[in-house]
């Protein structure tokens, strides 16, 4: 049941690509400061669910409420604005702009939100520092290692203090040690900000970083611990 700490609540989500159902009557909720791992075999609907929550896909039925606002009924532009203000996203491959420096990449969301360059730069440095990549903040994103670029991506996702952080296989391209470090830093920062975190992963070691596990199978949520 939603309470005052519930940041995001999805109820009865169903989505189909043509005749193929991707999500069937899925319920999921995220509470402030909570980290949730979303697991499931390939094709189980993990990414579809993530994209519904991010407002990229619109579910065929069901509704998503975030911070007291229905987001699935918003228009494209409003959903875009919602993502910019309230969501942070991390992808498997950092997807930073390779021509910009790490600092500029991290400043980007703040600047798009109208923050002054000076303030944005200070805040970006703060996060890059916390993620241990401040030393290379003036290198171009295309010229740093995968781990560094992924840390910067995490910084970019959190720089504007989003309510919800969505991560899609955030460490899929990293080795175990880097992966643990990035996850630790990401979850610690999110916890400090009180953001809810949803991590899509197929790795148990990643899901072990999260407090709660939701498993999808064939588009449905199976029991919290059901075997994949």
């Amino acid at each position: 049941m939603p309470d005052q700490y519930t940041l995001l609540q999805a109820r009865g989500l169903s989505l189909a690509y043509g005749d193929t159902p991707a999500l069937i009557d899925v319920d999921i909720s995220l509470r402030a400061g909570e980290s949730v791992a979303l697991m499931g075999p390939s094709g189980s609907g993990k990414s579809s669910l993530l994209h519904c929550i991010a407002g990229v896909l619109v579910p065929d039925s069901g509704g998503i409420t975030a911070l007291g606002q229905r987001i699935d009924t918003l228009g494209e532009a409003a959903r875009s604005a919602f993502r910019l203000e309230k969501l942070g996203m991390v992808f498997q491959f950092g997807n930073l702009i390779p021509e910009l420096t790490l600092l500029e990449n991290v400043m980007l969301p703040l600047q798009l939100l109208g923050t002054s360059a000076k303030h944005a730069s200070a805040r970006a440095h703060e996060l890059l520092e916390a993620l241990d990549v401040d030393a290379v903040s003036d290198r171009r994103a295309g010229a740093v290692s995968g781990g560094q670029s992924q840390r910067a991506a995490v910084a970019r996702a959190l720089v504007h203090r989003p309510a919800v952080l969505l991560a899609d296989e955030p460490t899929g391209a990293l080795d175990t040690v880097s992966s643990d470090k990035v996850l630790d830093a990401m979850l610690l920062l999110a916890e400090e900000l009180g953001s809810a975190v949803l991590v899509v992963t197929h790795e148990n070691r990643v899901s072990a970083h999260c407090e709660r596990l939701v498993t999808l199978r064939d588009g449905r949520v199976s029991s919290p611990a059901a075997v994949l």
Binding site: S48, A81, I97, L108, G142
Partner: protein, 636 residues
């Protein structure tokens, strides 16, 4: 080998079993560019041959050079287009081919795969291009641009030119897709790893600076010599040629420096994300965009230069006279016995191609009395101005010089002009004396008034009677654009003077040729630029999708892309046009023509080029904000 070919076809998306949408789009673009390239080369080749066949007596040297310039101006952008399409999605394909090498495919077979992948589409496009040319021949023969005629039977390229045209484009496409194997992916990797991209060396500006300096030198020298009337500029010719070469090469070399500079300026204003991203992208690869527009830039340089060269033809008395005639209608003078004059005038007035006629009797100024051999027309100022709207400053009641003050040619101490009536077979008529004119009637061009040097008012004693006694002159103005000779021939009137319209139409055709080539160069250059830009944007797709996911509005991405593309394009075009103009002016001043820069046409060309550039940039915007689809988010 068969398997390598089959693999190449598969990768091109041509085999039915592959559902690679992007590969098919790329293949389509290669085929399309190859089609257009081949078609254009064939058209230019056939028109060139038609021109040559129609002047069997041997071409003038100027025309030969012009045809060569045309072929160069068209082939450069076409080849650049072919090269561009051959390198589409280069990074992705280089990686794929490198993987084939790792699988154990030999270097030779890998090259076969690469060549077949793009070459097949290029050959296909070239074949279709030939077909389109065959279909278009009657249409081209039906065109009469600026009076040129290209009869259908002459509209075939030489056989070797055909071979060249059909082979060149696919070969160029195949070659560029094969040549940079291995070396580039490694270089690209190194480039990507480099912490900061190297700034293009400022030394690149040297050739341009040298070219500008040399051209300025040539122009100033030529002006000095003209002022001192010290004859030929032959001595300057090596400098002039060097200046033109330096300007052409210098433009291409210098554009990356300026692009990088602008990138720096944009990026330093980091308050605006749009400008920042565009600026950084320009800083990253300032030369990449310039390489793509190189063909366009060379084309624009040549075209602007050629437009300036046409001035050399326009800057002649002949041309100006007939040019004015062409806009207000050509004028001829018909001589007829006085008694037939009314009937002749009536007949001419009835002709729909005749605007108006006027009877201005002519007298011949005696060469013996005043040492001034000229023609005098007898007319009142008002009649004269009505027929020749360009004349100004006519004073009623006194004799006037027309166009030029004739007094310097008079014998010193002359007190009067002697005039006689025009008689058949130049028999001398009665001589009467008239006062020497003291003022001059202004005309737009001396040739405007048909061979009249002096205007005598009908009130001058004895003049009118003398002039109308035997032969009468009737001035006839035809409709603009109609050759007055044809009208008179049809009417059977005998005439003495009329403008030379062959020269006029020749210069006109030169100018339309320059414009036609300009249009071609622009559209081909912009096409290849557009194709390359879309390809670049497509290869950035996952980055663009993720930015949109982060919440960046598509409008911002489009604006960024627009700045990134429009800037080097407009800048490059402006530089090429300016340098082309400078080169042209240097050439003109070498030919002792100054103050005749074709500013208006250059401005029009610049405006059209800029507009085209902006349109081309806009047309690539679709690719700047690709739709967010789940499958595009995860791909690396």
């Amino acid at each position: 080998m068969i398997s390598a070919i089959r693999l190449g076809l598969r990768l091109a998306g041509l085999s039915a079993s592959v559902s690679g949408g992007a590969a098919r789009v790329r293949t389509l673009m290669v085929a399309l560019t190859s089609l257009i390239g081949t078609f254009l080369l064939l058209v230019v080749g056939s028109i060139t041959r038609s021109e040559i066949l129609q002047r069997p007596a041997g071409l003038e040297r100027g025309v030969k050079i012009l045809l060569l310039a045309v072929v160069i101006a068209v082939s450069m952008p076409v080849l650049s287009l072919a090269a561009t399409s051959g390198r589409l999605s280069a990074a992705m394909r280089d990686r794929r081919l490198a993987n084939l090498r790792l699988l154990g495919l030999s270097a030779r077979r890998t090259r076969v795969v690469a060549a077949v992948e793009t070459g097949a589409a290029a050959v296909f496009g070239a074949v279709i291009g030939c077909g389109v040319f065959l279909l278009a021949r009657p249409v081209i023969a039906g065109l009469h641009p600026a009076g040129r005629e290209w009869p259908l039977h002459t509209l075939w390229p030489y056989w070797w030119a055909t071979m060249l045209a059909v082979v060149t484009v696919p070969l160029a496409v195949g070659a560029v897709s094969v040549l940079p194997q291995r070396s580039t992916s490694r270089a690209a990797l190194l480039q990507a790893r480099r912490a900061t991209t190297r700034r293009p060396s400022p030394l690149r500006l040297l050739p341009l600076a040298a070219g500008v300096a040399l051209a300025t030198f040539v122009i100033s020298q030529a002006e000095n010599r003209l002022a001192q009337d010290s004859g030929s500029n032959e001595r300057l010719s090596p400098y002039m040629l060097a200046a033109i070469a330096l300007l052409g090469i210098g433009t291409l070399l210098a554009v990356p420096v300026f692009v990088r500079l602008i990138g720096d300026v944009l990026a330093s204003r980091s308050g605006r994300p749009t400008l920042l991203i565009a600026g950084r992208r320009l800083q990253e690869q300032p030369a990449a965009m310039t390489r793509v527009v190189a063909g366009l830039l060379i084309g624009l340089f040549v075209v602007t230069g050629a437009r300036a060269v046409v001035v050399a033809f326009e800057d002649t008395q002949q041309y100006r006279a007939s040019a004015i005639g062409e806009t207000t209608g050509q004028v001829a003078t018909v001589y007829t016995p006085a008694r037939l004059a009314p009937a002749v005038r009536e007949r001419l007035d009835a002709d729909p191609d005749v605007v108006q006629t006027a009877a201005f009797p002519r007298l011949r100024a005696s060469c013996h009395v005043a040492d001034f051999c000229g023609t005098a027309a007898v007319a009142s100022c008002s009649d004269f101005e009505r027929f020749y709207p360009g004349v100004k400053g006519c004073r009623a009641g006194e004799p006037m010089w027309v166009g030029t003050d004739g007094r310097p040619w008079l014998r010193p101490g002359a007190t009067a002009l002697g005039v006689r009536a025009e008689l058949p077979r130049n028999r001398p008529g009665t001589l009467i004396k008239v006062p020497i004119p003291r003022h001059t009637v202004d005309t737009d061009a001396a040739g405007l008034v048909n061979s009249v040097d002096v205007l005598l008012p009908p009130s001058t004693p004895g003049v009118f009677e003398l002039a109308t006694s035997r032969m009468v002159a009737i001035d006839v103005r035809a409709e603009p654009g109609i050759a007055v000779e044809t009208v008179l021939d049809v009417r059977g009137a005998s005439y003495s003077t009329s403008p030379d319209s062959t020269y006029f139409s020749f210069v006109n055709s030169l100018r339309s040729l320059v414009w036609a080539i300009a249009a071609l160069v622009l559209s081909v250059g912009l096409l290849s630029f557009t194709v390359a830009s879309i390809d670049r944007a497509t290869s950035r797709r996952s980055e663009l999708v993720s930015l949109q996911l982060v919440g960046v509005r598509p409008a911002i991405l489009r604006r960024t892309q627009w700045i990134e593309i429009a800037l080097p394009l407009t800048l490059g075009s402006a530089a090429a046009i300016a340098c082309g103009l400078l080169a042209g002016v240097a050439f003109l001043s070498y030919g002792s023509i100054v103050d005749q820069t074709p500013w208006r046409d250059t401005l029009v060309l610049s405006a059209v080029a800029m507009l085209g550039a902006l349109l081309a940039a806009s047309s690539t915007l679709v690719a700047a904000s690709p739709p967010i689809r789940p499958e595009t988010i995860r791909t690396e």
